[in-house]
Symmetry: C2
Amino acid sequence: MKRAVKLTDVALEVVLPPPEGLHGRVAEAMRYAVFAGGKRLRPFLVLAGAELLGADLDGAARTAAAIECLHTYSLVHDDLPAMDDDDLRRGRPTTHKQFDEATAILAGDALLTVAFEILADPKTHPSAEVRCKLIAGLAKAGGSQGMIGGQMIDMLSAQRSYGQDDIVLLQRMKTGALFEISAEAGPILAEAGADDLERLHSFAVDFGLLFQVTDDLMDVLGDAATAGKAVGKDLEQGKQTLVTTLGLEGAKREARRLAERASQTLSIYGSKADALRALPFELLDRTS
Amino acid sequence: MKRAVKLTDVALEVVLPPPEGLHGRVAEAMRYAVFAGGKRLRPFLVLAGAELLGADLDGAARTAAAIECLHTYSLVHDDLPAMDDDDLRRGRPTTHKQFDEATAILAGDALLTVAFEILADPKTHPSAEVRCKLIAGLAKAGGSQGMIGGQMIDMLSAQRSYGQDDIVLLQRMKTGALFEISAEAGPILAEAGADDLERLHSFAVDFGLLFQVTDDLMDVLGDAATAGKAVGKDLEQGKQTLVTTLGLEGAKREARRLAERASQTLSIYGSKADALRALPFELLDRTS
């Protein structure tokens, strides 16, 4: 995990624009948001999947950097006053608090844009077909039928009544889709077969739901220091989560079930997949 | 021009998500912003360039749609209260006025994302190399070193003192870069040689500056009905433009010089380039 963070941070340093020139402020804000001590979960999925299937690690680190840029933009925009209105992120002022709203909007837009610029570059993979697959997959995962659509449903959730299926759909769109393309990136970069792609995909679907359940549990059980952000906001805003529909114990049971199934999906790879298979249980430990 | 609008609108109808499902509101807002009766100048450049150099028009229409999505996102975000704070755009309420700020931010993000999804699709061009070139070009033009960087400089312009060179740089980044990739898309799609690419590029550089000068002139000379938006805002906000540095008559002379040079650049193509060569003079007519 530490190695994945290191590789990704080196790649990010190379691909992010320098904070220079009349427009340097936008690059400053991009770097502020990206180098905020995030867990780099998505980069870990990319790099572990790439290593498992024998893809080149330099290209994988660039892909991880691209996905992290897209993930970071979503945090910057979600924190805005018109959205979740958060002042703290990972224990630091959010980007619009540190800079200003206009700069945060522009820095988010630029992080989203640079994600695709990174992937389109031949340095990411010699095959343009592979690069286009990554771009198409990331755009789909991050777009109106994926992450952005999920955020839209989430924004409306305080005014509407959702069932458990709706909440699973919301969460799969809002956070799951990006985990899915992160795990699929390894097989895509390795030009692996459909079986490998399908296994990594299934793993990521379970992992994504698990991530959201543990995040919802943290909002109820955690404190701001451990969570790195304000807690108790879901209840306060009347948001529906799997904790509100399944109850605390039900949500914990569901989390364990998802972790076990995710890990089981990759058992065919033996010890080579140990790091990936351990990840769901590390998430689970946050809430026990 | 009318044909280019028609082809682009048909392509946009196909590529934009349907306003359905729990997240349908974001697709509604995307469509509201895109189908607002824009002039489709950038699509015209794409299609006219593609036709001039013999590229397939279906792929060109998809490329035009992608660039128009990216252009539209920039308008939606620029109109936000934290940015230019505009209530009207093309005579209608801006997207955040018609919906709300959160929806406008998300719809803008989704339009930016879908632009790359459209270009990555094999329906845009059979060669993945060509698709990656378009994606790289659009990401560069729209990114922190292009359009977004230009908008950042523009946001800061009321607090700083810029010289004429700075203003030309600002405008080339903010509006020019997107015109440049629009004009280059034709040669890229046609897999034309470096000479063709360079000619279309030079044309677009002059055209982009001309566009900005005439836009600045309209802000001083025009009325809201002709301009389709509030006028007099530049002076009110203390923004520096070529009109403030060159004076009214100087800016008009500069506009004519740029139109003539842009048109001259394409004279080598003879009457095949008539539509493209006439465009700068149509812009010029808006301010005479």
